[in-house]
Symmetry: C2
Subunit: 316 residues, 2 copies
């Protein structure tokens, strides 16, 4: 994983001499391309068998939801934005049945319809292991791009959506015995079909100074914000970040919910900063946001009520 | 392969109720999306280890050229068009060296620069087998979209670029002993770094009634044109289709060049139809085009000087 991050940084530096119409290149949630006065958004994501999912746990509809939401999430994290079309490139093992394909396509269509976009094209290859890559093209409404950079000392850090739920869901999925409690079902659903804040992100975008989708866990997101903006982040964990289902499951199975919030992954909730003067306004306009911490001068991350380990999220 | 074509047809039908701004959805070389008065082009392609290439024969630079050209080719086959940005999603085995990655990125940058586009983003996953998917976004200059449909009885069928060269190149690549002749090198290059007719396609687009890139061999392309346009195609094979290198290799190794032209694949040359009145004009303006045949009323394909077998191209 560390090598991967190094390589990604190398790529960002290597491709930073881009042309004028490519306003944002590799390195943010989306690339932004300007045409006439319109801002176009582009992002690609991929899920891979045995890395992101195991076939025996995965229905075609699960996989369709997961790849669509992972991809579309990046569009909404760039501001007041609408996904428009997607393209899929996938490698399929030859033993998948026609029924499998039909279920998968049906689910992709349903997801596309939910996000009001069209499947515009695709490509199929034969592969030993299933993998599905989705490119999404979206359009920014207006001119306000919310990047990962833009947070300043004095800003407040906020979140919307539960964190650590997908990690807990994955653990439940891997267990042989389940209790079939409502909270188990909710957490598994969070892994396969994460909530995307498509309406809330449009309102948040009026105030956010920076934003990203939390795909690699809170700690990784904090690292990104701190590094890109050259700021210190003071964080205080609170139960709103976990949500009632993770709290209940953690309590019943003797886990520390904070471990899941911090070292989670694949949650796709939004993390954003605002000027402190908008605190009351944002909490009134979008009641399910919660404060994560404060942006301060300096470097690094300080989490007040936690001294556990930082681990990278292991998919499988 | 047959199952793949059936599945693709199913997908085209299943996703044909697209929104108004998606002018062309799945089924042509590119999807076309209309924004204000601009026409945007989208395409995705993928190469997969052990299906499209073997690691032991493939340098990072070979793979970069192949995926870029396979993808960009679809943009030029839609008319007077310019690729603008690309996004890569790739699965990499963990044993690839840093040097491998750097060579790959360097080659991608070089290819992007040749086609005057930028790498806008990407995604990396860990995979047992290497696969590289590239989405290209391009812009149509003007309003003339050249689709696969549009050919009418009375039109003439034309081509530009050699056919069967990639198939021959692949065979040479797989052989232990090579003669190191110029024609061998040329054919191998045709497999890795196919010629893309970026300037010629802009001129051809002024006259073409239909066009596609010949990625699955001449016979498959003829089938597509015949079926989509509901026409009969009369074809006469000629040596211009093969080019001097394939002719020489075929002659020296006792192969029938026509077999390669008809059952080839991964050539990415262009095949297009024109009104017969433009015959002299197109041959004057783009001297390296050649006539393939005639479009007539009826159905099916008739190849005058050939009665061999039709096979689908086997990548590996």
């Amino acid at each position: 994983m560390d090598r991967e991050y190094k390589l990604i940084e190398y790529i960002h530096n290597f491709f930073n001499d881009q042309k004028k119409d490519l306003i944002i290149g590799p390195g943010d949630d989306c690339a932004v391309f300007k045409i006439d006065k319109k801002l176009l958004l582009f992002t690609v994501d991929e899920i891979m068998e045995d890395t992101h999912f195991l076939m025996k746990f995965s229905s075609p509809s699960n996989l369709a939801s997961k790849i669509t939401r992972a991809s579309v999430s990046d569009i909404y994290s760039m501001g007041k934005a609408l996904p428009k079309i997607c393209l899929i490139s996938a490698g399929f093992p030859s033993n998948l049945s026609d029924r499998w394909f039909k279920e998968f396509l049906m689910a992709i269509k349903k997801e596309c319809s939910y996000f009001n976009m069209d499947l515009a094209g695709g490509n199929m290859v034969k592969a030993d292991k299933l993998h599905i890559a989705m490119t999404v093209f979206g359009i920014l409404k207006g001119n306000r791009i919310i990047m990962r950079s833009g947070a300043k000392p004095g800003d407040l850090l906020y979140g919307i959506g539960f964190m650590g739920n997908a990690k807990a869901g994955l653990e439940i999925l891997m267990k042989r015995k389940r209790k079939n409690e409502v909270y188990e079902k909710y957490l598994i659903d969070s892994f396969w079909k994460p909530v995307i804040f498509k309406d809330e992100s449009a309102i948040i975008s009026n105030y956010a100074t920076s934003m990203l989708d939390n795909s690699d866990g809170l700690y990784k997101s904090l690292e990104i914000i701190s590094k890109i903006n050259n700021v210190k982040i003071e964080v205080e964990l609170n139960e709103k970040m976990a949500g009632k289902y993770l709290l209940k499951w953690a309590n019943n199975s003797r886990r520390d919910w904070r471990e899941y919030v911090i070292n989670g992954g694949e949650d796709y909730n939004l993390i954003f900063s605002i000027r402190s003067k908008y605190k009351d306004l944002i909490e009134k306009k979008v009641p399910n946001v919660y404060q994560i911490g404060k942006i301060e001068k300096g470097n690094g991350i300080n989490i007040k009520n936690w001294n556990g380990k930082i681990k990278n999220f292991k998919h499988f």
